[in-house]
């Protein structure tokens, strides 16, 4: 299939400007059985995140005497896409996303406080429209805050990329499929540090600088929405 024109008259196909996020809505505390949880809608993405723990690390040989063990499962429902029925079960993509997400939270959570314990993070994508790993991390950040497990910071994530020579923020599915670069990034906003960075496609150093700047700037808005979801529980 021929590459569609992703940018027309200085606007993106859905009418957004280059540095504009899709609408984001987060509700905390939605999974009653979990220690902490959140439901997030980000554009057409619909994602549940839940945190359980810390509990005794099981099986025992997985325990680490220096810190809590973080386990993470990112998974996508077979009915989540507008295209065909997905095959359920672990695949290589989900396994990789689970791993890099786990690492984001190993750094955010004060794992040194809970040796020999385990904390489980679950991210379930029920509807997907591009950028689900970033949206999943953003949702899990709210679930973490809701859980009361001590954390250094609450990460947010979003991706930036390149289409028709322009650097654009928060790629949706169509943009993701046909863009010339995609770079999902997670940031700890108060520490000002990067927790996840992936990239494919082609970017010049200048384009990278522009993309990362856009991501950092958008964090103000994303963090505000994350915080509002938590504050709403105490109104």
């Amino acid at each position: 299939m021929e590459k569609p024109q992703l940018i027309k008259n200085g606007k993106r196909l859905d009418g957004r400007s280059f540095d504009q996020l899709r609408p984001i809505k987060i509700v905390a505390g939605v999974v009653k059985n979990a220690t902490g949880s959140a439901y997030l809608e980000w554009g057409a993405n619909k994602i549940y995140a839940a945190v359980y723990g810390p509990t005794e690390a099981l099986p025992k040989h997985t325990a680490n005497p220096k810190q809590a063990v973080i386990k993470c499962r990112y998974s996508m429902a077979p009915f989540s896409s507008l295209e065909e029925h997905g095959r359920s079960g672990a695949n290589r993509r989900a396994t990789e996303i689970s791993k890099v997400t786990k690492e984001v939270f190993e750094n955010a959570i004060m794992i040194e406080k809970f040796p020999n314990s385990e904390i489980d993070i679950y991210i379930e994508v029920l509807q997907s429209d591009g950028g689900t790993r970033a949206a999943g991390i953003t949702a899990a950040g709210v679930a973490l805050a809701d859980s009361g497990i001590p954390a250094r910071d609450i990460p947010f994530a979003v991706s930036a990329g390149k289409a028709n020579g322009e650097i654009i923020l928060d790629l949706d599915k169509l943009e993701d499929n046909y863009s010339d670069a995609d770079m999902p990034v997670a940031i700890y906003p108060n520490l000002g540090k990067v927790g996840l960075l992936q990239m494919d496609g082609s970017l010049t150093k200048e384009e990278f600088d522009k993309a990362i700047g856009m991501i950092k700037e958008s964090g103000r808005e994303i963090s505000k929405i994350q915080k509002a979801a938590i504050s709403e529980m105490y109104e």
Binding site: G36, P65, N116, S117, A145, D146, G148, A151, D153, Y234
Partner: protein
């Protein structure tokens, strides 16, 4: 109330508030809470129990060996009751209340050492957020007394966030407890709960 979430600054000075840590001379939140100016303290809205000597806990015996019982406290680490010091007969599955002797973190294991266990028969166990326990108890236990007396229930409140309820209308008790848990940070809660108990006792 301005909610502070983990990572946000609580104070420009280094403070030793619970649920915070100090970095580069400033104090940052590690859990959701708010800063109480009048009392100069950080109030945690969520958080985990930190075992202290003398804390009353409620839990369920998960396993028993010849010398000790291990107790699920809804906490990352098990409670341990050394049987040679205790008179009470204990079996796996029993719900108990007990007192914390100390909390020991070793290189390869951590345990909450418990003493003076008492078996709690029947009733039900409810888990609440441990940070809400002080509000559920109320000043000088006023809130919990009001609920127990108003509903005719017996209640044991564990500092670990486990509550045992028996007798009276237990559903009503659970409902009231959940209400206090959710609205712990609001004013006039004692009166509101009193009204609900009165309405239950004297239905119009």
């Amino acid at each position: 109330m301005d909610v502070i979430i983990p990572g946000e600054k609580v104070s420009d000075k280094p403070e030793r508030f619970q649920g915070t840590s100090v970095s580069n001379g400033s104090t940052y939140a590690n859990v959701v809470g708010f800063y109480d100016k009048d009392r100069n303290m950080f109030v945690q809205l969520v958080g985990m129990w930190e075992p202290r000597e003398g804390d009353i806990v409620v839990g369920q015996i998960s396993s028993k060996r010849s010398r000790a019982c291990y107790v699920d406290l809804n906490f990352p680490y098990k409670g341990e009751i050394q049987l040679r010091y205790e008179e009470t007969r204990l079996s796996t599955g029993d719900v108990i209340e007990a007192e914390v002797r100390d909390f020991r973190k070793f290189e390869d294991e951590a345990l909450v050492s418990l003493t003076r266990p008492k078996v709690l028969h029947g009733g039900m166990l409810v888990a609440v957020k441990p940070t809400k326990v002080p509000r559920i108890l109320g000043k000088a236990n006023t809130m919990i007394k009001q609920i127990a007396e108003g509903t005719g229930s017996s209640l044991v409140v564990g500092m670990n966030g486990m509550l045992w309820i028996k007798g009276g209308d237990m559903n009503l008790v659970e409902k009231l407890i959940r209400e206090v848990e959710e609205k712990a940070h609001t004013n006039g809660l004692t009166d509101k709960i009193k009204q609900e108990i009165d309405a239950y006792k004297n239905p119009k």
